[in-house]
């Protein structure tokens, strides 16, 4: 075999987050002379396409797979098949269930990302947090893992009792006005925001699954002239998102580093192909944490954050 | 004698259009009843109402003196009434044999038929071919042709053959020879007489006066959605019948009671 083959399998390749992940992987692969094939589910939660992708990689004789799994536990048997066939499987962004089903995990902690924006929002509101009116704009009704982690992290950070931390929407805290789904895009963000505003026009804290949804929510608020007095928080840290933080559209966002995950993953596959060495997890965790940082120009005591300028330097798309 | 099939006071409206206007109807055992009338007079609607294909807005249907309410043509068929509708009612994409046996398919004898419910195609095809030959429809070159590929007359022939082969109590034919050729029409008339000789009464709707006068025992003249009168072909000439049905002449008052 002339070239080392590697596969990148993402949840979708329409979400900018994964697009950037792919760019990072492609750039690194080119640098290291690895032949990279990328795969993606058709929609969020499209599990079978990912299984088919793993099988294709095996058929293709690739050396390793970088995987952001849609269904973290169901994928395990396919992953096992790949590992049995001698491929290195690295989970990116989302850990598998159980986490050791993959050879290694390069992830961001989505729960922590949620906690950060939750704490920030609570701190920002100060005393008003006690009677805040919260709306959460989530991903879709199938409640994929990221969705749950970010949502529950946020509520946890805000100091709300989670009931079952694996389920969105079972909280009984009266401060929660409601949640709606956005499909993670502007259109869905706007629609969901409008629906929730119609339920309660007093909403003043909005958690959004990602920055496009936040931008949509902002449009809905603007349409009724409330864009100034609602706190929108989000997760991702893409360049337009950080720009939106700067413009005051989003109050704060938790920045993640898909490019870093991807390039680290490629390097790990290269190493594995060369001498069979596997990457090691971060000290004290069972995965390699690529980090998350809160981006805002209005820092709050007790919550670590970086400035928008720093965020712009590190943003990914 | 009690009519075998009887309709009383039947009404059917389609939006603004009145197709049946308090219409009565009688068919006696063993007879051939001709039904004639202008286009749109409501003949087809009448036989649809008595054969369960439409539900009348008002009125009653009696079979053998018992009141019946056919919810579907299948009900009527179950009661032994076999109908050739003017639209022929065939599944265009299916073959001639499939259409002839629709709803009463023959199964292979033995295990294949009993357990695997396999159709006995050769038998059905042979039967179909025989029945069509009886009608003189020799031009059908391929018995497995889909019905939609048949010529207009061939299609009608298939429908008539089906009704004649399976009707047990009453056979209703709505313009069975409209698209048929001279030879084929003649065969249908012979078939009708043959069916009658088996004791089965027949309703024959037709615009062909000579045919109707040739085979019918009584003629029901339909006009503007109702039965205008019933005549015997021996008592009146074709011109009289045409005059009644087109409104050129009024029938005698006592005929109306008939």
């Amino acid at each position: 075999q002339d070239k080392i083959g590697a596969c990148l399998i993402t949840k979708t390749d329409t979400n900018p987050f994964f697009v950037k992940m792919k760019e990072g992987a492609t750039a690194k692969a080119e640098e290291l002379g690895i032949e990279l094939k990328s795969f993606a589910g058709k929609v969020d939660g499209d599990h079978e396409t990912q299984v088919a992708a793993i099988e294709t990689c095996i058929a293709d004789g690739a050396k390793g797979i970088l995987l952001t799994a849609s269904d973290t536990s169901s994928i395990v048997s396919a992953v096992k098949q790949a590992r049995d066939a001698g491929l290195l499987v690295i989970a990116l962004d989302t850990p598998l269930d159980p986490i050791d089903a993959a050879d290694a995990t390069f992830a961001t902690d989505n729960y922590k990302a949620g906690v950060l924006i939750g704490e920030w929002a609570k701190g920002k509101l100060g005393d008003a947090a006690a009677d805040a009116k919260i709306a959460t704009l989530d991903l879709n009704v199938s409640q994929p893992t990221v969705d749950v982690l970010r949502n529950q992290g946020f509520l946890d950070g805000f100091g709300i009792d989670l009931a079952d931390p694996n389920v969105i929407g079972d909280e009984s805290d009266p401060r929660i006005v409601g949640s709606d789904v956005t499909d993670g895009n502007e259109e869905g963000g706007r629609r969901a925001m409008e629906n929730l505003l119609a339920t309660d026009p007093e909403i003043n804290v909005v958690h959004t699954i990602n920055e496009p949804a936040a931008a949509g929510a902002y449009e809905a608020l603007k349409a009724i002239g409330r864009e100034g007095d609602v706190l929108i928080v989000s997760v991702d840290g893409g360049c337009p998102g950080v720009q939106n933080v700067k413009d005051g559209v989003i109050g704060a966002t938790s920045q993640q580093y898909p490019l870093l995950m991807a390039s680290l993953g490629i390097e790990a596959i290269a190493a594995w192909a060369k001498d069979g060495s596997k990457p090691q997890p971060t000290e004290g965790k069972d995965f390699f944490d690529t980090g998350v940082a809160l981006v805002t120009d209005e820092p709050v005591d007790g919550v670590d954050s970086i400035s928008v300028e720093e965020g712009m330097d590190k943003c990914w798309g | 004698m009690e009519p075998i099939l009887k309709g009383r006071n039947l009404v059917k409206r389609y939006g603004k259009v009145t197709a049946l206007d308090h219409c009565d109807f009688d068919l006696y055992p063993g007879e051939i009843l001709g039904v004639i009338g202008d286009n749109g007079a409501g003949k087809s609607t009448l036989i649809k109402a008595v054969s369960g294909a439409v539900t009348p807005d008002a009125g009653e249907v009696f079979l053998d003196g018992k009141k019946v309410k056919f919810a579907s043509p299948l009900d009527a068929r179950g009661a032994g009434i076999e109908t050739v509708y003017q639209t022929l009612a065939m599944s265009p994409a299916l073959s001639i044999a499939d259409n002839m046996f629709m709803g009463r398919e023959l199964r292979k004898p033995g295990v294949m038929g009993k357990w695997f419910r396999k159709l006995d195609r050769p038998a059905m095809e042979k039967f179909a071919r025989d029945k069509l030959s009886e009608l003189g429809l020799m031009t059908i070159q391929n018995i497995n042709q889909a019905v939609e590929t048949l010529s207009g007359g061939q299609r009608q022939g298939v429908a008539v053959a089906r009704a004649a082969a399976f009707g047990s109590k009453v056979i209703i034919l709505d313009e069975p020879t409209a698209a048929l050729g001279v030879k084929e029409s003649r065969r249908v008339l012979e078939l009708i007489l043959d069916v009658k000789s088996r004791g089965i009464p027949i309703i024959l709707i037709s615009h062909n006066m000579p045919h109707v006068f040739e085979v019918a025992d009584r003629i029901h003249i339909h006009r503007l959605g109702k039965r205008l009168c019933v005549i015997k072909p021996g008592d009146y000439s074709m011109s009289d019948a045409v005059a009644f049905m087109t409104g050129a002449k009024e029938p005698d008052p006592e005929m109306l009671a008939a």
Binding site: N15, D180, E187, G189, A198, E219, P240, Q243 | V242
Partner: protein
């Protein structure tokens, strides 16, 4: 020989000689059904699009009773209009195609690609906004033309053509835009014309957007065109029975191609309206456009087999879904339950529709 002929003639003629005296005039019947109910029934019978309208009004009333002023506020009611505008515009495109017994799975994709073209042409290439919009509209029309050409000339099933087109256009969209969003703030600053459809218009007490007005006008114009022009009748004829239409002198292929082109153009307008609605140009929006527009069309009473139904019904269909969605949210159902209930209500709405139709015969 002459004598034989005349004999023949007289033969076939004899019983027909009375025809000259036959009755003249059109038959008339007493109708013993009178009164209001019958009038209503008749109105429903001749104007089938009234039926979804009734279902719509019923659902507004029910939600109004359940929710009171929360739902009956100008805010909520105009919100519904704004939320359905995209589906309404796409539904207009979809209606045209479905009336020809086709189906267009690519409407949403064409919409998004057109909006991306408008945005990228302005921001990537620095073309003035009006020109870029024209390119976007042309792009949609072109996609429609390809659909139409494949359906009409190559005679491929519309489902397949537009399924392929859907994937092609969506992939092109992602490849071309590199999944990059153009932010609302940038558009407002540099090319506000792209956001034209989002502009607010005060009519009486209600606040409407240009997009909403466009949707309503579009449907009204199309309803006129379909009903009162030759082209419109041809669209119905083609959908009804393309062979009969061909035999009776309709240029079936030309009609089909024009329908798909117009549908593409309308989708491109929907793309423009999309920018107005969400502010930004986002390549990931509108992915459910096809299924939502088909739903609106079918609830509105247009037959998927072509040739039957009215485009007004589609608008009511879209609004019915909009009312349900918002109403249920306001009642406090969460996302999963809303999803479930909307499924139920769609079936119920069409069942009521069917029932009214039956009663109105």
């Amino acid at each position: 020989m002459g004598s034989e002929m005349s004999e023949t003639t007289s033969r076939s003629d004899d019983y027909e000689s009375v025809i000259g005296q036959s009755a003249q005039g059109i038959a008339e019947f007493d109708d013993d059904r009178h009164g209001l109910i019958h009038k209503v029934q008749h109105a429903l019978h001749v104007t089938p699009s009234l039926v979804p309208l009734i279902v719509l009004l019923l659902s507004i009333i029910i939600f109004g009773i359940l929710l009171g002023s929360k739902f009956f506020s100008p805010f909520a009611l105009t919100l519904i209009l704004q939320q359905v505008q995209i589906v309404g515009i796409l539904g207009a495109a979809q209606s045209l195609v479905i009336l020809t017994a086709g189906i267009d799975l690519s409407v949403g994709a064409i919409m998004v690609l057109s909006s991306v073209v408008m945005g990228q042409f302005t921001f990537r290439y620095g073309i003035p906004a009006p020109m870029a919009i024209a390119f976007g509209l042309a792009c949609g029309t072109l996609c429609g033309f390809i659909n139409g050409w494949l359906v009409a000339k190559v005679k491929l099933p519309p489902f397949i053509v537009t399924l392929g087109m859907w994937q092609i256009v969506l992939a092109t969209n992602f490849l071309y835009s590199a999944n990059e969003t153009i932010r609302s703030q940038d558009i407002a600053a540099e090319a506000p014309m792209l956001q034209l459809f989002g502009a607010k218009v005060q009519i009486g007490g209600a606040v409407l957007t240009v997009g909403v007005i466009f949707m309503v006008l579009l449907v009204v114009v199309l309803a006129y065109v379909l009903k009162h022009t030759a082209w419109g009748r041809h669209v119905y004829a083609v959908g009804d029975d393309p062979e009969a239409a061909e035999l009776s002198g309709v240029q079936v292929k030309r009609t089909l191609i024009s329908v798909y082109m117009l549908s593409g153009l309308i989708c491109a307008f929907a793309g423009w309206a999309l920018i107005g609605r969400i502010g930004s140009v986002s390549p990931t929006s509108g992915q459910l456009g096809n299924i939502e527009s088909i739903t609106a069309v079918v609830i509105g009473g247009i037959s998927l087999f072509g040739g039957r139904g009215s485009i007004m019904g589609m608008l009511f269909g879209a609004l019915i879904v909009g009312v349900f969605t918002l109403g249920l949210r306001l009642l406090g159902a969460d996302a999963q339950w809303t999803y479930l209930l909307i499924g139920l209500l769609i079936i119920a709405a069409v069942a009521v529709d069917q029932w009214i139709r039956k009663v109105s015969v």
